[in-house]
């Protein structure tokens, strides 16, 4: 079939409001961390486990609220801690081989958001 001969191109991911903001980061020292965060977030948002997906979506929404100043850093950190408490139970209930991945896509992602991405977004305002 003719369509099979065409090289398959990977459909580019639609940029979110958060991606657009983070793409404006010019500082070389934080570009790598920002890129790592964006990749992890995209991976988590596309995960098959509902809780991992929900956490990523919620995190992205709250980063946008932070950027829009509808919540402040104190509120953001508070929600991150709430989320971590909730997720710890979920991770501990996972089989040992799945725990590392789940932790990376949830707790590690939340940690990066609180320590690197949130201060970056606030500095951009």
């Amino acid at each position: 079939m003719p369509s099979d001969d065409k090289p398959k191109r990977k459909k580019p991911r639609k940029k979110s409001e958060l991606d657009s903001a983070l793409d404006q980061v010019g500082d070389e020292s934080v570009v790598a961390a920002t890129k790592e965060f964006q990749d992890l977030l995209a991976q988590a948002k596309g995960d098959t486990t509902e809780l991992i997906r929900q956490n990523a979506e919620e995190l992205e929404r709250r980063l946008i609220l932070l950027k829009q100043r509808k919540i402040d850093k104190e509120d953001f950190d508070y929600f991150v801690e709430n989320q971590k408490r909730d997720l710890r139970v979920f991770i501990d209930s996972q089989p040992a081989q799945a725990q590392e991945r789940a932790e990376k896509l949830t707790l590690h992602l939340l940690g990066m958001a609180a320590t690197k991405i949130a201060p970056l977004l606030l500095a951009m305002i």
């Binding site: 609220l65 509808k70 919540i71 509120d75 508070y78 989320q83 909730d86």
Partner: protein, 138 residues
């Protein structure tokens, strides 16, 4: 009555008794769980109303009213924990109380410094609803 008939009679009655005990205990567990669910829903309503009352941007902080409401909440949670008949629910109620304590501390700090942000109430209530839904196994 011969020996065999007597044995059958005893076995049958023992089986019926066991079945009745199982059915009754299941019924009791259901009633307990339903009552326990209602208690948790009551705590949820109180918790959400507490946030609505104090997570209001630019509202003057009334420390006395705030502490009175926190004390009311503490009493409610402690009573519910003490009266919980469905014992498997106790750790869950303790987790809900911990969330109430954390929310009260966060709100006290924000409201007393006039730093309540526009989306705070909505976001806090979102987390509260999530933890109560988990507590109810939803």
């Amino acid at each position: 009555m011969n020996l065999n008939t007597a044995k059958n009679f005893i076995v049958r009655n023992a089986f019926l008794c066991a079945a009745a005990i199982v059915m009754t205990s299941c019924g009791t567990a259901t009633i307990n769980k339903t009552g326990s669910d209602a208690q948790i829903e009551g705590l949820r309503s109180f918790h959400l109303a507490f946030i609505d009352e104090f997570a209001v941007p630019r509202k003057r902080f009334n420390a006395a009213a705030f502490e009175a409401r926190v004390n009311e909440g503490n009493t409610k949670f402690q009573q519910t924990i003490a009266n919980e008949k469905f014992t498997a629910r106790r750790p869950v109620l303790i987790d809900l109380k911990a969330q109430f304590d954390a929310d009260a501390a966060h709100l006290r700090s924000k409201a007393s410094h006039g730093k309540v942000t526009p989306a705070l109430a909505t976001e806090m209530k979102k987390d509260v609803n999530k933890i109560y839904d988990h507590a109810l196994g939803r």
